[in-house]
Structures are given as C-alpha cells and as structure tokens.
C-alpha cells in the first residue's frame, strides 16, 4: 500500500468529517438538521448483524428518502413516547473501501452510549457504518448509510437515529 494521493486524502477527510457531523447532530439533539446530511434520494437503514449476516433485509429502521428521515424526526418530537435519554457516539476511523468517480464507499466503527434520566450511561448500540458518500459538492452527503449493529438486543426502544 503506497502513500495516498491528495485526492484520496481529501475523500477520506470529507467522509470522516461527514460521519463526525452526523454523530454531532444526533448527540447534540440537532435532529432537525440531520436529514440534510443525506441526498434527497437516499437510503438509511439500521439493521442488526443477526439479520444482515443471514442476508435478511429486515431492519429496525429503513428509510429510502430524505422525507422519511424528516418524518422520523417529526414523529420523535411530536408523536412518540419514550424514556428521556441522550446518545454519545464514539466513532472509529473512517476507511475508504472503494471509490467510483466522486462517490466513495466507506466503513466506520461506532459505539453509541445512552444516558437515561437516572444518570447511568450504558453501551446502547455498537456496530459499523457502511456508507456511500457523494463527495463532489462543497458539503458531502450520504447517498446511503447502513448501521449494522452487533447489539441485537435493543434496550427498551429505538427512537433516535444511530
């Protein structure tokens, strides 16, 4: 493996920045801004490794448009009832797995810690993101983001994006 080209470094940087912003918006409860990280025509799914590894497509969350992401957030704010909690994402390094023009496929490990009202923090969800990112514009955006989680026993409910 030789030294990366400047373009490869730029792509890697853009993808890592996008993932960091993704985590930041969720953890800081700026959820209304979160759908803007995705293309209008996009795919976002949160699926257990238990299903994914069996080539089963059943996901906990499956959205195939930015509109569905917005609907999830409006539902969270206005409709759904759940225990008060916050997330803290811990991200591993983002690696570019392949590049096709201005579209990169990346993989990033993550851990989501959850803190509830009682003040205890627990490992809520851990897994890997497999993303397709369009890095052509000034602001990179997800074409698709798949969170494949190891933690197949979900603690009570899942309402915030992973």
């Amino acid at each position: 493996m030789g030294l990366p080209t400047l373009e490869q470094m730029q792509f890697q940087h853009a993808a890592a920045q996008l993932n960091a912003l993704h985590a930041e918006l969720i953890d800081d409860d700026r959820l209304e801004e979160w759908p803007n990280l995705f293309e209008e025509k996009c795919q976002y799914s949160v699926i257990s490794a238990e299903n994914h590894n069996r080539s089963l497509n059943l996901a906990a969350v499956f959205c195939d448009s930015r509109g569905m992401l917005v609907d999830r957030i409006v539902s969270l704010r206005r409709a759904n009832i759940f225990p008060a909690h916050s997330y803290r994402h811990i991200l591993g390094p983002t690696r570019v797995k392949s590049t096709s023009g201005q579209i990169v496929t990346t993989q990033t490990n993550y851990v989501v810690l959850m803190t509830r009202n009682d003040g205890q923090t627990s490992i809520y969800n851990s897994g890997k993101y497999v993303d397709q990112i369009d890095v052509s514009g000034a602001g990179s955006r997800f074409l698709s983001k798949t969170a494949i989680f190891d933690t197949h026993l979900i603690d009570t409910m899942m309402v915030r994006p992973i």
Binding site: E50, N51, A79
Partner: protein, 420 residues
C-alpha cells in the same frame, strides 16, 4: 347495555366489578418462580418458533420456554422437536449457537451426543480406555436423553409443553385462536428477520398491554399526530372459552375510493399541523378478503401473533426475572410474495418493533409501571374499562381480556403466595 346502564351497575356494586391486581405479582421473586413452575413448566403450551425458522432437516434454533433454554430442531424425517438445552450428563448447554444446522446435537464439555429428537446416541469412553474408567456396567443410554417436551405445530407455529397432562395444543388454544392462526398462516411463510427488545419490566405487564385496546389511540399517537385517519378504528375484542387468550381486531370501513385505498391502505389524512413527507410508508395492499387490517392475537402465556396492515409477525416473550424480559419479534411474509410485496413488508416494518413508529411506546409503558410499583406490597391496580368483567366486546373501549388473563393467572399461580 348502554354506557349509562353499565355505570349504574358499577355504582350499585362497586366492590365486585373490576379487577384488582396486587402489584407485588410484578415485583416479588416468589411469584416469578411460581410462574415458571405453574405456567411455563405447567399445564400450558408455550410458543417456541415458526417451522419456517427450521425449514431443513438438521436445522435448529435456540430459544426459551419462560426462562428455560430449549432447542427447536427439525429431524431428518421432517418432524419438529423441542428439547431442554441441557446435557443429561452434567448440565451444560448442548447448543451454544442461536441457530444453525447439524446432524446431531453434541455437548462440547464431554462430547455426549444426541440425535435431533434428543435421544442420547454417544458417550465417549463409555467402556473406558485401555481397560480403565468407563461408565458403570448397568449404564442405560436410553435413560439419559435430553428432556423432551411435547411438541405440536399449528399451521407452522410450534408450541411446546413440559406437561404430560395438559390437553392437546389445539384444545388449549381453542377454536377462535386456531381460526386466527389458520387465517394468517394460510400459505407457506418465509422469515424476513428478527428484532429483539429488552424491556425492564415484568412480562405480565406486556401480557396486559397486548390485551388492552383501550390504550391504543391514547398512547400510540403516530397516526393522530400526522392526521392519518384510521378507518379501522372500529373493532372487536374476543376471548377463547377459557379467557386465556385474546383477539383484538379491526376492520377497514367500506371505501368509495378504491384507487386511493390501494395506495394508502386504510389511512386517510385530515388537516393537522404535521404531514408525512413520504406517504410511501403506508402504501400497502389489501391482502385478506375479510378487510381486517389489524389483528393482535395474544396467546397465553408467551405469544402474540399479529397483522398490522401488511406486517406479519410473531412476538415471543422470554422471561429474565421479575423485572426484565425479552421480546423477540420474528417478521415473516409469504413464500409467494412478489418483489413489491416484499418491499411493502420491509418498509412497513418501520411501524412495529422496538423502533416502530406505532409500537415503540409499549416498552416504555411497561417500564413506567415497573418503576412506580417497586417495593409495593399491598396496593393494587384497578381494571374496569368496559364494565370490569372478563367479557367480549364489539368495541375497543374495554379491558375485558386483561381480566380474562388475570382470572387464569389467579387460578394457576394465585395472588397469594406462601412465604418460602
């Protein structure tokens, strides 16, 4: 009887109407232990899985009856079996994977091997090694099988029982439940995937929740918030003759706009502040001739079979202790689903499960009760909506099926448990 008349009845006899459940049954370990003995290992049939989860000879799935680990297997002759997942030798788990395929079950500790029915077929060094060791001369392999449960499949739903005396599974379920199982399991199914949810509350709070149509439009606000009028708001709440099981269902109202119905299932919008940006979430098909769009079939003690629009799933309760259980959702479709139908089911899956837009609240509903009743020795709940008796209703403003559950519980476990 009119509501006013019902109210009069309540006023006249306030002490007899309604059901009062002591909160200690949700928190006290003695009740939990007794439930394991009297319900899960007693005269009941527990749901263990779908035949479609073990389609081929040698397929197995690890699961639980109550808290007891069991294995569901498919034998080479095509029959399904359920055995306790515990080696007859020194008690180790025989099967340590969640699922897989094997020609026999072998304990890793000392390699005792069992066939897929649970019969002991191999004991290493049984006759010793070089004249040393070995099992006693009168050791009889046939006396050391895995504990084999009675197993019955009802249209692809597999149930198991520890009891030698309990009635047949179909009789235990009763005609109403069997009919509903036959309705949903009307053709070969294929598993779409599982979802697992850990809820920090007592499993019976979920048994109540799934027999409770009263809370549906009050706790689950997704449809209301987005102005999605549900023409399925009329429905019925029925029980089997023994009132163990509960059937809640609702029927789509007759509709004059067939094209719109095709596009949006049973949903209609009315003016609200919020609109769904992407209505494709609710796109579905009318796949049952009876126009029923919602079925919540709560089968005593540990199963819910459900149809919500085009989502089909079983929910299995696994108990961890008095204040914790796991809910396993296994989604399925039909083997003859076309590509579009598969896509509909996978998208509508957003509605149900731990991240379900219309179901995620149930975990919280269980936990807020559990958190509030901690340490409570004598106080009780009060369950009386719909008249306060275990009666069927042709509406959904009732808690009758919850009372049916408790009548059975009181008989099997009791509200008073002797101190250990």
């Amino acid at each position: 009887m009119s509501i006013a008349q019902q109210q009069d009845t309540l006023d006249q006899a306030p002490s007899t109407a309604g059901c009062r459940v002591p909160y200690r049954v949700f928190t006290d370990r003695q009740y939990y232990d007794r439930e394991q003995e009297k319900i899960f290992k007693g005269d009941c049939w527990s749901f263990v899985g779908l035949e479609a989860e073990v389609p081929k000879a040698g397929d197995f799935k690890s699961t639980f009856v109550g808290e007891t680990p069991v294995i569901l297997t498919r034998d080479s002759d095509g029959s399904v079996h359920v055995v306790v997942n515990r080696c007859a030798h020194r008690g180790a788990l025989v099967c340590r994977e969640m699922r897989g395929n094997r020609s026999s079950l072998e304990c890793v500790y000392h390699q005792w091997a069992y066939d897929l029915k649970g019969n002991l077929i191999g004991v290493p060094f049984r006759r010793g090694l070089k004249g040393q060791g070995g099992m006693p001369g009168d050791f009889d392999m046939s006396q050391h099988n895995l504990r084999q449960l009675r197993t019955e499949s009802v249209n692809g739903l597999v149930f198991a029982s520890f009891s030698e005396t309990v009635e047949s599974c179909r009789d235990f379920l009763g005609p109403i439940v069997v009919e509903q199982i036959e309705r949903i399991m009307c053709k070969p199914v294929t598993v779409l995937g599982d979802q697992r949810q850990r809820i920090r509350g007592n499993w019976k709070l979920y048994a109540e929740n799934t027999r409770d149509p009263y809370h549906a439009s009050l706790l689950h606000l997704f449809h209301n918030t987005f102005g999605l009028y549900r023409s399925t708001q009329t429905g019925k709440a029925l029980m089997d003759a023994n009132k163990r099981h509960s059937l809640l269902y609702s029927i789509a109202a007759s509709n004059d706009d067939a094209a719109d119905k095709q596009a949006y299932g049973d949903s209609r919008t009315f003016d609200t502040e919020f609109k769904l940006q992407d209505m494709s979430l609710l796109k579905g098909r009318q796949e049952f001739a009876d126009n029923v769009t919602l079925v919540i079939l709560a089968v005593y003690p540990n199963l819910v079979l459900q149809q919500i629009q085009n989502t089909l799933a079983v929910r299995q309760t696994v108990t961890y202790g008095p204040d914790e259980f796991e809910l396993v959702w296994t989604h399925f479709g039909y083997q003859d689903d076309d590509e579009e139908m598969q896509a509909i089911r996978l998208k509508q899956a957003n509605l149900i499960g731990p991240a379900g837009l219309i179901s995620m609240e149930d975990g919280e509903a269980v936990e807020i009760v559990q958190n509030a009743i901690v340490g409570e020795a004598s106080a009780t709940s009060y369950i009386a909506m719909g008249g306060g008796r275990a009666e069927d209703a042709d509406h959904l403003v009732t808690e009758g099926a919850i009372i049916g559950f408790w009548d059975n519980y009181r008989e099997m476990v009791g509200f008073e448990v002797e101190p250990a």
